[in-house]
């Protein structure tokens, strides 16, 4: 594995109101590419994302960012290095350019234009408009531009396409792929395992707070994972999340490996 580790979840559990939302998660999320955390609603995937930028705190266990416990980092710096884009796109200003500058007030006009281009919003068409006049997909991409303006190392995307029609969703996916091609890491959460599999290099399937499958997107039988109950006590695991070798072996996971998320 030559890609450096971005986030490490070290025996992370989270209990909310007596409910175990995340149950002893041990995961290594690597830099570069798209990592998707997929699972049905209520599986704990959004909560897991919020642990990464400290919007939530684990009940036990540690979250490391590039090897450092996130609690030892300045939280504002952490959130600028790992920017989370929430599920529901929400405008914070009344103007498209102001929106891009909301957390980066020093941006020049040229930089704002460049950021809009990166998210496939034509500056000539969108500058001067109010964010509330944008469609859901356009607003989602504006939120991506606003996040990129901060200069993050990784984007944490919570259901970036769930509220969008298929065409808008494809446009957002295309933007995500182009950002990743330019070197940005993306960790996204999706209830749509199949769509997540299409956009991601590396997938974790989450069921009731546990990782039930992990590996290269192409190597996992995602349709099967979607249906399989989390109670079989096994994690379907492919060796190389980057998937160079395993991409051609779509049923490799059928040979179950011993449970790795269980506590000793």
């Amino acid at each position: 594995m030559d890609r450096p580790e971005l986030f490490t979840l070290d025996d992370v559990s989270l209990v909310i109101d007596g409910r175990r939302v995340l149950d002893h998660i041990d995961e290594h999320l690597h830099d570069g590419g798209v990592t998707a955390i997929a699972g049905p609603s209520g599986s704990g995937k959004s909560t897991l994302l919020r642990l990464l930028n400290r919007l939530a705190e684990p009940t036990s266990g540690r979250v490391l960012f590039r090897g450092t416990d996130v609690r030892d980092l300045d939280v504002l710096e952490l959130r600028r290095r790992a920017v989370l884009v929430p599920q529901r796109p929400t405008a914070l200003t009344e103007d498209v350019a102001d929106e891009v500058r909301v957390a980066a007030p020093g941006l020049t006009d040229a930089e704002v234009v460049e950021l809009l281009r990166r998210v496939a919003l034509d500056p000539g068409e969108f500058l001067g408009r109010t964010p509330s006049s944008l469609s859901g997909g356009e607003l989602q991409r504006l939120c991506l531009a606003r996040a990129l303006a901060v200069g993050p190392e990784v984007l944490l995307l919570d259901e970036p396409t769930s509220a969008l029609d298929p065409r808008s969703a494809d446009a957002v996916d295309t933007v995500i792929r182009s950002l990743v091609a330019s070197g940005l890491a993306v960790i996204l959460v999706s209830h749509d395992v199949l769509r997540a599999g299409r956009v991601a290099d590396d997938v974790r399937v989450l069921h009731e707070g546990r990782v039930t499958a992990r590996g290269a997107a192409a190597a996992l039988d995602l349709e099967h994972e979607l249906m399989s109950p989390p109670t079989d006590g096994h994690v379907h695991d492919t060796d190389d999340p980057r998937g160079h070798g395993s991409a051609h072996l779509p049923h490799e996971h059928a040979t179950d490996r011993p449970e790795t998320t269980e506590q000793p």
Binding site: R54, L76, R79, R80, V85, V102, A103, C143, A147, L156
Partner: protein, 255 residues
């Protein structure tokens, strides 16, 4: 001075309570008993407070008057805190807002020689300031609580961009303070047109020339504008401090 009503006159006015009771029972409103209880309670409370004030005016001095005003702020903050239910340390936020507003407003009036420090001035004027500050504090907490619940996604979106809490919550703070100030700005704008406010009404009934009575009213209005503004701002700042934790997270607010 015009004639102040005698106790006999008060007893005659009690007939008006009977009018209300008569209507209630004639229309079968089922609140006859409540009307009588309310009327008796009002009588007892006012007699008691009259006696207390008479004693305070005679014996309290400046220190006693200030202690009385301080006691009012404690009661007011307790009333205000209910509006912020779910906000951690809402009582403390309300108390800080009301105390700072009361102290600064009364301080300016006393130091500026606008009002005297006699208990019969400090206590009623202080009461008006505390009451206004309390309403401002309550409206501020109501708005902050609502915002923290309704706007949580927007606030968290801003926090997720690495913005510190004061910036991420700036819009909600402005809304809260503005919401708190609207009623008093409105009532100040139309004062004298829609209602004759209490201070000048009282002075006029007591026989003071209207052109003199309005001077007191103007001072009271300006004082209340300041009290509302200071209380709203300070309450909001104090509440914000406890609505975000050390990791710049909006704490859960009970719905």
């Amino acid at each position: 001075m015009t004639q102040i009503p005698s106790w006999a006159a008060v007893a005659v006015s009690g007939l008006l309570v009977l009018v209300a009771v008569a209507i209630a029972s004639w229309q079968r409103l089922g609140i006859s008993r409540e009307i009588v209880v309310a009327a008796v309670r009002a009588l007892v409370q006012l007699v008691a407070i009259g006696a207390v004030l008479a004693w305070l005016f005679a014996h309290a001095g400046v220190a006693g008057a200030l202690a009385w005003v301080l006691a009012m702020t404690l009661v007011a903050a307790n009333e205000s805190r209910r509006r912020g239910a779910g906000i951690p340390h809402a009582y403390r936020a309300a108390l800080i807002g009301i105390v700072v507003a009361t102290a600064s407003t009364l301080g300016v009036l006393v130091l500026g020689g606008v009002i005297s420090t006699e208990p019969q001035v400090l206590i009623p004027i202080g009461g008006m300031v505390v009451s206004g500050s309390m309403q401002a504090s309550s409206l501020t907490l109501t708005s902050l609580r609502r915002s923290a619940i309704d706007n949580r996604p927007a606030v968290e979106a801003a926090l997720s961009l690495g913005l510190p809490a004061p910036q991420a919550f700036a819009r909600e703070m402005r809304t809260a303070v503005r919401t708190a100030l609207v009623p008093t700005v409105d009532s100040t704008r139309v004062v004298g047109l829609i209602s004759l406010p209490g201070t000048m009404t009282g002075l006029i009934i007591a026989g003071v020339d209207p052109l003199q009575a309005i001077r007191y009213q103007i001072i009271v209005m300006y004082m209340l504008l300041a009290a509302w503004a200071v209380s709203a701002l300070v309450t909001a700042r104090a509440a914000q401090g406890s609505m975000f934790d050390e990791a710049q997270r909006l704490v859960p607010i009970a719905v």
